[in-house]
Symmetry: C2
DNA sequence: TGTTAGCACTCTATTAATTTGAGTGCTAAT
DNA sequence: ATTAGCACTCAAATTAATAGAGTGCTAACA
């Protein structure tokens, strides 16, 4: 059995209605709502078919139907493809866009230098606008080139190592040494590191290079490798991806999420943040493939266990040339996907425009 | 009517029992549990008195009694004073202490330089150990002396300003200028700032000084004041106190907290963090007064609205000489105060010992 | 053959009624 | 002053009754 046009329409209607009400939708509702002009009995037959096909189900006999993950998936895919088409007509919901862009602008103008603050604010704004939970990752520096390194003596035998990466991401690391260092040596070291490391990415600073540098610097060898370690540690994956979340408590607004104890598990996950990297790193390599950098996980599709009752939508933003970050929304499966997509697109758009080169047409 | 010895004992018993069970405790229970050897009827009479005095109450007629805030307060104060006395016998729960000290040590040794990480881990550990919610504030730098400033040119007209405070707290700030700066000027500026600002606290860098410096530096005046602003901003209260929380979801373990919608409000507060500063700054000036730096808020006593059903215990730790931070536990009013006090004391103890000078005898 | 009206049936949700038990307050006896 | 005893209260748990939404199926209809 295939999905004919009518079935599609009915499915659509069921889902749309469920998105709005959160209640199982029955045949009579559909019969009245749609312009199909069919009796509830007919709808019932069709819905039985749709159930058999796996797009909808009843929580119990004598209840209306609810979309399955598969149903949502069809709905969302459909929506995405029509959106693509409509993208040319730029007039889509211009008013909405305007408004949220303005808010965005305000946030951006506040303090451009403090990326962290900007991202946090952005997450907050997203959560407020959508009434879902939002998360934002700091732009990943891993693949980013080193701009310069600076060593400064802070105390006896205590060096402060300041590192600036392409994209003006700054990292600090304290290095504790077992002896003091004179000004001369410090200068030499600074020169050495800058000459050798400039323009390299973290990946390119490998063991060979470390050995090489240590050799070349003779008696300072040990010192050099010690410092190099610190540098790698400072930039490195060691400290993972930084992620900010906001609006975690919004999930209490959706009974299907807040009812069971999963609510607590979900909030726990958001608090721990470790699991969240799965959501945001997973799809980073697929950027080329997808036109928009947008990823949608529905229910069981999500890689995070505590979110199996949720849907997650993530998008990629370009922070500076080549430096990407991710931003996402977590909500109930019956989230307003349209709204979420718009919100994400606005935000990433603003970010690209403000920081990035706006390379997307 | 005054609290005679027997009433005190009964109150104590009621509270102790309630702490453990979380259920209203009735007269029979007390009659059996205590060594008072009194019948339930007698206890009932006494309990009626205690209720009239405001130390306990019944959630409804024909239920057992529950301590009021006032009851808790008496209990806690009493405990504190006996603890003080017992402080000499150092053998208190040595085994427990040992264990948690070990964990502490592990965390500390991990990466001493990354205070932030250490504090986060500590918060996590505290939350895990106590099954309550924990919060830790970054040591406040406001009153801390400036150790040195370093300006570096990162891009055309983009300066990186690295600031190190006493206690080796590092701050970075990007400064966007409308013109490029040559190496010469940069050196001059660095010298100027270091000479002028070294050893000063944020408070001491005031307007007069700014004007003065600007004047002295002639044509560079504008530039100087611009940079000075950035420095102040970087250190300043502008970005508030940084606070980490952990174990927010632990509140779901206590029905009296998780039941109503306050749970959500509480978690919201923890997420926002802004309100939390009230908890942690409020009592900072009272350090001198209280011997231990420990503060206990019970129910209505807490300055944060969403925590009126909770108790909050905070303690002060000394990070480096003169740099204080706070650490706290949020839990139900019937929290295990003993345990919490011990946990906090261990942690602050370890911190003082590791970083600070252990000035407390 | 596809559509529809009609009806019996199912299951949840809500409300009401009933029962249970813990705990109290009071009184009268010790 | 203490206690045994009893009547009383109230929340919580259990059971019963009712209402209502929605289905599946059958038989009639165009």
């Amino acid at each position: 059995m295939e999905l004919d046009e009518r079935k599609k329409k009915i499915l659509q209607a069921v889902i749309k209605n469920y998105l709005e009400t959160g209640e199982p939708v029955g045949s009579r509702t559909i019969s009245k709502y749609t312009d199909l002009n069919l009796s509830s009995a007919t709808i019932r037959n069709e819905m039985a078919d749709l159930e058999e096909l796996g797009y909808i189900f009843q929580p119990h006999t004598s209840a209306g139907r609810i979309p399955t993950d598969m149903g949502y998936r069809l709905y969302v895919d459909d929506m995405l493809s029509t959106r693509e088409k409509e993208l040319d007509k730029k007039d889509r919901k211009l008013d909405d866009k305007e408004e949220s862009l303005k808010t965005m602008q305000e946030i951006m103008d506040k303090r451009v230098d403090r990326i962290e603050e900007v991202l946090k604010d952005m997450a907050k704004m997203l959560a407020n606008n959508t009434n879902y939970t939002s998360l934002v990752s700091m732009p990943q520096a891993n693949k980013n080139k080193l701009k310069f390194v600076q060593l400064t003596q802070v105390d006896e035998g205590k060096l402060l190592c300041t590192i600036v990466l392409e994209g003006n991401i700054v990292k600090n690391e304290m290095i504790q040494l077992d002896r003091a260092i004179d000004q001369q040596t410090l200068l030499k070291l600074n020169l050495l590191f800058n000459n050798t490391l400039n323009g390299l990415t973290l990946q390119e600073i490998n063991f060979d290079m470390a050995a090489n540098m240590a050799d070349q610097s003779g008696e300072l060898g040990e010192l050099v490798s010690e410092i190099l370690n610190a540098i790698v540690a400072a930039i490195g994956a060691a400290d993972g991806i930084e992620i900010f979340t906001s609006g975690a408590t919004n999930i209490f607004k959706y009974p299907e999420l807040s009812g069971n104890e999963n609510a607590s598990r979900l909030i726990s996950t958001l608090e721990e943040k470790e699991m969240l990297t799965n959501l945001l790193t997973d799809s980073l390599e697929e950027i080329g493939e997808s036109t928009t950098g947008i990823q949608i996980y529905i229910g069981e599709e999500t890689p995070v266990n505590s979110m199996k009752d949720c849907s997650v939508v993530t998008a990629t933003y370009e922070f500076e040339d080549g430096v990407y970050g991710k931003i996402g929304i977590i909500g109930p499966k019956r989230m307003d996907y349209e709204k979420v997509l718009d919100a994400l697109k606005n935000v990433t758009g603003s970010l690209d425009q403000k920081f990035g080169k706006g390379k997307k047409k």
